[in-house]
Every structure is written in C-alpha cells, then in structure tokens.
C-alpha cells in the first residue's frame, strides 16, 4: 500500500459525518471606494497618485529616477522611459531593476491590495526583485472587499496571480515596522481616471 493510500484510508476512517458548506452572503459597502482604497494603502506604506494618463506617470518617473537606473515595463505607453533591453528577460537578469511599472487587474478597497496575474508580468519575479514598484490601475477597477475580488477573478485559469498590498515590510525586530524587506522598497499606485490604451 502506498503512503497515499495509507493516508487516505486513515482519513476516510476518521473523518466525521458530512456537514454542509455555508451559503453565506457577506454584505459589502460599495461607496467611496477610491477614498477607502487610498486611505488604506497609504496607512500600510503605499502611495497613491491620481492621474489622467501616461504623461503624468512619465513625468513622475523622470522626477524620481536618473540616467543610470534600469527601468522595466511591458507597458507600451511608457516606452520613452523604459530601459532598452530584452523583451522577455530571464528572471535573474532583472536583479538590477531599479523601477518596475506594471498594470494591475483591479484593486481592493478594504485592504489596499491590487490583483496581478501572470499575464501582466514579463516575469513573475519582477514586482519583487525591483527596488521600487509602480502600479497602474484604472480608477474604476476597484471592488469593496475580498469576496467581490474573488467574484471578479471567477474561474480564470492563471498560472500565477498575487495580491500585492503596499511595499514589502517586516516588524520582526522588536515590532519596529521597516519598509523594504525582500520585495520592493516602495509601491506607488497611479489611479488613472481616463480609459487607457
């Protein structure tokens, strides 16, 4: 008998009588999503900037970076500030990325998180390995809470997806909060009002 059989047999012998899954509907408040999202993300160390389009983003990127910085993005609207290089770089070659700019599918107001699936990333490691992260989010793509988030995700077949809520952090040293653990040191979200190309 394989270990698998052994374990499953033991479980079947010991599991209790079947109980039903709850059919609960959790209420949601859909008002003031932008304000809630902004407030929550700011509290957890992120930055939210309202913008009308990529011109604002480009101007901002120019103001926070200088010539030597490697800037990685797959967003064609930002072509003029993106560093030259391979279109689909290998993960390790991204280690010197100063700034990465990615799009997010949507944001969640209750916790300031954005949902990003693999198809928005040239490499899964990009939003983690960069020193600083900028996320472009359509201001209309906000949901109130995680229940709505998973409704929106539905049964999409992604290879990888992640919720990112602010910059990486740790409080392991005497509960002192430090931003910038192993992931990005900062996270800035551009909430774009007008439809993006």
């Amino acid at each position: 008998m394989t270990t698998r059989e052994q374990i499953l047999d033991a479980i079947r012998a010991n599991q209790p009588a079947l109980t039903a899954l709850p059919g609960v509907i959790i209420p949601a408040d859909n008002t003031g999503l932008q304000a809630k999202f902004t407030e929550t993300l700011t509290t957890i160390g992120g930055k939210v900037i309202k913008a009308n389009g990529y011109d604002d983003v480009i101007a901002y990127i120019r103001s926070i970076t200088n010539a030597g910085h490697r800037i990685i993005s797959a967003i064609t609207g930002l072509a003029e500030v993106i560093s030259a290089g391979e279109a689909s770089p290998l993960p390790h070659s991204l280690q010197d990325t100063e700034l990465a700019i990615i799009k997010a599918d949507f944001g969640v107001a209750e916790n300031g998180a954005v949902w990003i699936t693999e198809d928005l990333l040239s490499q899964r490691v990009l939003p983690f390995i960069c020193q600083h992260l900028i996320v472009i989010l359509n201001a209309d793509d906000l949901v109130a809470n995680m229940h709505q988030a998973y409704e929106k995700i539905g049964d999409e077949h992604y290879g990888y997806g992640t919720f990112i809520a602010g910059p990486s952090k740790t409080a392991d040293i005497e509960q002192s909060l430090v931003l910038g653990a192993h992931g990005s040191r900062s996270m800035t979200i551009f909430l774009i009002s007008l439809p993006l190309d």
Partner: protein, 458 residues
C-alpha cells in the same frame, strides 16, 4: 536548547526570573492583540466571518479525503507534482531526495511551521544540504540556533540588541548597532544574494484550493516569491488540513488571517501558485504526521481547523508571561497545547495544564476552535492515560473523599482554619507554593455554615 526533559511550569519559572523582560514580552504581545482588536472592529461582519470560516472548515474535515483527491488531481493537471508523506521522516526524505536528484546542495526556505514540526533543517544539514531561512525572524533564530518561539513572529522573544549582536557575529555588522532599519537592510542585502543563487526554494502553504489545484502563500517580506520565482524547483510543504474547498473561500480566509495575526488587513503578498514557470518544477508534499489520528478524536478534531494565525498566543496571558519556548514544541501556546498531546501524550502531558481556562483564545480564534474546552478535555484524557504525577493523584483522591462527605468536609475545613490560625508557620513557609509571592487568607472565626446554624434556622 535542551528543553526535552523539562515541563512548562519549570521552564516558565525560569522565564519569570527576569521580571522586566517578562513585562516587555507581555506588553509587546498585548500590543499585537490590541492591533488585532482595532482591525477586527472595523468589520461589523467580523463574527459572521468567523462563523462562516468555522463552518467551511467543519465541511473540510468531514470530506477531507475527497478534497485532497480533488486537489491532487487538479494540481497535477496544472503540472504540479504531488507527493504524500505519512510522517516527518518521510517528508524530510522526500525533500532530500528531490534535492539529490537535481544535484542541489543549497536551498532557500521561507516560513513553514510544518517543516519546524518535521525538523527538516536538521535532517537536511545532517545530509550535507545548506538551508537558509529567508524570513527575517526565522533567519535570526536560525543564526541563534534556536527554534522559533511564535508561529507568526519567530523571534518575538529577542531584543534588538541581541539581534544586533547576532548580526555582528554572523553577518559582520558593526558591534552595538541595534537599529531595526539598518539590520533589516543588512538582511535584505545578505539574503538577496541567497535568492539569486539558490536553485531550490521551499515554502509552506497557507491554503490549498481543492477546486482549482492552486495553493496560496502569504508573506509580508516577499521572501517566498523571491525564492520561488528564481529557483528551478519550488517545493511546497503542506499539512493535510490546509485544504479549502473553493477558490472563493479564500475571500473569507484572507480577510480573517492577517487581521487575526497582526492586525493588518492583509499580508503584503498573497501569492497564488497554479502552474510552474516554464522550464521549472513545483512539487507539493502533502503531510499527515499525526493529523489523521487527531481527525479521529471526536473531542479534538476541531484543532485541525487551525489556519496558523497565532492570535491565540497573542491573547493568552500565560503565553505572554512564559514565552513560546516554555511549551517545548514547534507549535506553542494554546493551539500547541491541544495539538501536541496527540503526537506524544507523555511528552506533552504538561501543556494542557499551562492554562487557567480563561477562554480568551477560543474567542479570538478566527475559525472558532473551542480551544479552552479542548484543554479541559485533554486534562481528563491525560489523567486517564496515567500521565498525572503520583502526588497529584493521591491529593485528588483525598479531596474527592473529603468533599463527598459533609462531615469530613466540615471537619477538614475547621481543622484547616485552626492550623492557619494557631500554627501559621505550618502553611506560611517555603513548602507552600502559594506562599512564595502571596499571603494566605485570614482564617475567619467561623465558616458561613456555622454562622448560618447560629443565626438562621435552628
């Protein structure tokens, strides 16, 4: 750290020798409990969420085999390789075997309490594999050669000066530097090199979704992702009870988990792994290690609902004043006390008694495990199985005889008060543990029974 031969009371006594430190430990964890309170009070539907999560987990336990098979099938369809391990040894050998098969001798790990339970690091190191823990708190205790003291906050028992000293010794930071910002930056640089050079990364699993075959790993630091997305092989270790039925259930659990643990609305990263990156592998090891046995214990199976948030530890007044190491087990605190006796009743017979049964734990538990009721029930089981000290057994028998007989009770009470009044030195001494830090109560001139007989009915 040899804690095998000691019990919680002895270890807690040692911990309490440094009262200022106990205050510091207690206040730090109480502060985290308060952060949890602040966060959960933002959600008027909090109690509804707890009840929902509890019912989902009840359903999971009642169909565990079915969900595991469903998960395995869906994970395999996505290209994940699934292994099964009956116990810690088998789990450890699977990990070792995978590393050997790829000629890998260095691995980076992100936090997994299951691997602590299995003593994985020790096994790998004994077999020539270098393991580096990438969670900052875990890395710190790894350098200190200690186990973590808390399932979410591994080095909550360590002061920043001690961490500074460790980093000075092992990572070459300047002596005396205890600045958290500086130390974290040092760890970032040191571990970045590790992430970039390790071909194998091992993570835990916070939730495994039966419906889709995906699993979720939650971190604040981003270390699980840094390791996994740069490695050729990602090994994920999970206990059988980490299963949840549907993807949408994650909505409930991800709202409860981090609020309960640290008071944050969500961890910085909640990564959902479904398929391996092209040219790489993901292996999941499904581990039993006593869980199926616990599943068969009607009074204790609810302990398997645990999502490892640590809220019970933060709220426990005993845990705060004794520290995680006093529980001499990978999982400490109230949840540890109801999980461990299932693994080794003799070794962990002391843990269910390390509690006043105040009930705070059960009421912060996001999945409504009846922890304090289980602590009471484990006490009965442990005594019935013969693990009570002989002196205690004798004292209890005597108490039972005295209290079942009104005459014996009245006589005993009178005698006790007499001794306390006329020979206080008989009880006010070193042999009486109560007397160490507390005065004994003043014996009154008559009991209530005696007063009543005089002042009411004839």
């Amino acid at each position: 750290m040899h804690t095998e031969t000691k019990d919680h009371a002895e270890l807690a006594t040692v911990f309490n020798k440094d009262e200022a430190r106990v205050d510091w430990h207690d206040e730090t964890l109480w502060w985290i409990r308060q952060k949890r309170d602040k966060a959960v009070n933002h959600l008027p539907e909090w109690e509804l969420l707890r009840e929902t999560a509890s019912q989902i987990k009840d359903n999971v336990l009642s169909n565990l085999a079915g969900y595991l098979v469903q998960f395995e099938s869906n994970a395999q369809k996505n290209g994940i390789i699934v292994h099964w391990a009956a116990d810690a040894a088998e789990h450890n050998n699977i990990v070792l075997g995978l590393l050997h098969s790829k000629g890998i001798t260095k691995m980076v790990k992100s936090k997994s309490m299951l691997t602590e339970e299995c003593h994985l690091n020790e096994h790998l190191e004994n077999n020539g594999i270098e393991v580096i823990d990438s969670d900052l708190g875990e890395r710190i205790v790894q350098l200190a050669k200690e186990p973590p003291s808390h399932i979410v906050l591994p080095c909550i028992h360590k002061k920043k000066e001690e961490i500074g000293d460790l980093f000075h010794l092992h990572l070459g930071t300047p002596a005396g530097n205890a600045d958290p910002q500086f130390l974290t930056e040092t760890a970032r640089q040191h571990l970045r090199e590790t992430f970039l050079t390790r071909r194998a990364a091992l993570t835990g699993v916070n939730f495994a979704v039966a419906e889709t075959g995906e699993f979720v790993v939650c971190t604040n630091e981003g270390n699980a992702d840094m390791g996994a997305h740069l490695a050729d092989i990602h090994i994920a270790s999970m206990g059988i009870e980490k299963i949840i039925p549907k993807r949408k259930n994650l909505g409930v659990f991800l709202r409860l988990l981090t609020r309960s643990a640290t008071g944050q609305p969500i961890t910085t990263y909640s990564s959902h792994f479904s398929k391996p990156r092209e040219g790489t592998e993901i292996h999941i090891i499904i581990v039993d290690n006593g869980r199926s046995k616990q599943l068969g214990r009607e009074d204790f199976r609810n302990s398997l609902k645990c999502i490892r948030c640590g809220a019970c530890m933060n709220t426990c007044p005993v845990y705060r004043r004794s520290g995680g190491h006093s529980y001499h087990n990978a999982i400490s605190g109230p949840i540890g006390a109801i999980l461990a006796p299932n693994l080794d009743m003799e070794k962990y017979a002391d843990l269910p008694f390390a509690s006043t049964l105040c009930g705070s734990c059960s009421n912060v538990c996001p999945v409504k495990i009846d922890i304090h009721q289980q602590l009471y029930k484990w006490r009965q089981v442990i005594v019935q199985n013969g693990y009570a000290p002989a002196g205690k057994k004798a004292a209890m028998k005597l108490m039972s005889l005295t209290l079942s007989s009104p005459a014996a009770y009245h006589m005993g009470g009178k005698a006790g008060r007499f001794v306390m009044k006329y020979a206080p030195f008989a009880v006010n001494n070193k042999l009486n543990p109560w007397y160490k830090q507390r005065d004994m109560p003043e014996p009154p001139k008559e009991s209530f029974g005696e007063w009543y007989a005089k002042n009411r009915k004839a």
